[in-house]
């Protein structure tokens, strides 16, 4: 098993319409943009193909995981050996982050990663705002190519601050 296999599986999940779209977020996304940090799982925001008005369910994802022999451990699916948490987009900010995801190439696999400007905003959401996450948001602020204007715009529109 290889890290690239797990990324490939995310694309397969999308190709098979288990999810409409996805974006890697959290610490693993941070590793794509800045220096490595210790993390034990991969967080993936997903848009589910749910008809309007119906309840969001992870049933389709679990069925897909089972069909491929991926074990479920608590709130994680072990995709090609990588504990992966697939989180249905909970709000407008995360939907924007998924839509704005950037394709990054890893060992020949194109994978969608939330841009640093959106990662900062996701880290600063009240429900996610721990000291560790605020520190990670600060790490991203030091990126040389960060679009600070876009960060300010996202934070303003979603009522977030440091």
């Amino acid at each position: 098993m290889a890290f690239a296999d797990a990324l490939r599986a995310l694309n397969t999940m999308k190709a098979e319409r288990v999810v409409e779209e996805y974006a890697i977020t959290g610490a693993m996304a941070l590793v794509f943009w800045t220096e490595p940090v210790p993390t034990f799982d991969m967080d993936v925001l997903v848009l589910l193909p749910t008809p309007p008005g119906s309840l969001v369910s992870l049933e389709g994802i679990y069925r897909w995981a089972e069909s491929r022999g991926y074990a479920v451990q608590d709130e994680h699916i072990l995709i090609e050996g990588l504990p992966t948490q697939l989180v249905p987009s909970p709000n407008a900010l995360s939907r924007e982050a998924i839509a704005a995801a950037v394709e990054v190439e890893y060992q020949g696999v194109l994978v969608r990663v939330a841009p640093p400007e959106y990662l900062i905003a996701l880290y600063l959401q009240p429900q996610a705002k721990t000291a560790k996450r605020r520190e990670r948001a600060t790490m991203l602020l030091d990126l040389p190519n960060l679009n600070r204007g876009l960060v300010d715009d996202i934070l303003r529109r979603h009522g977030l601050s440091f």
């Binding site: 098993m1 943009w33 220096e35 993390t39 034990f40 799982d41 990588l82 060992q107």
Partner: protein, 78 residues
């Protein structure tokens, strides 16, 4: 004066020569350069380092709280 346990006394610490501003500046710049080098590593090397970090921090986390089922070093190729 050295205390009974062999450690430097409070007054000795106060009298010790402080690092110069230039030395501190050099250390901070070196630290920043290290962070930049890590940030600019090839992605595959970064994933290899993530797995290495997992092996380092796991025993430290285990000393503080019970590990969750998925908290273990990845058994995968970077």
């Amino acid at each position: 004066m050295t205390s009974l346990d062999g450690m430097a006394s409070h007054s000795e610490l106060q009298d010790a020569e402080l690092p110069s501003a230039a030395l501190l500046d050099q250390l901070w710049k070196g630290k920043a350069a290290l962070h930049r080098r890590h940030a600019n590593l090839p992605l595959r090397e970064k994933i290899r380092l993530v797995i290495e970090l997992q092996r380092i921090v796991l025993p430290l986390i285990a000393r503080q709280r019970a590990l969750r089922s998925w908290e273990r070093p990845w058994d995968i190729e970077p």
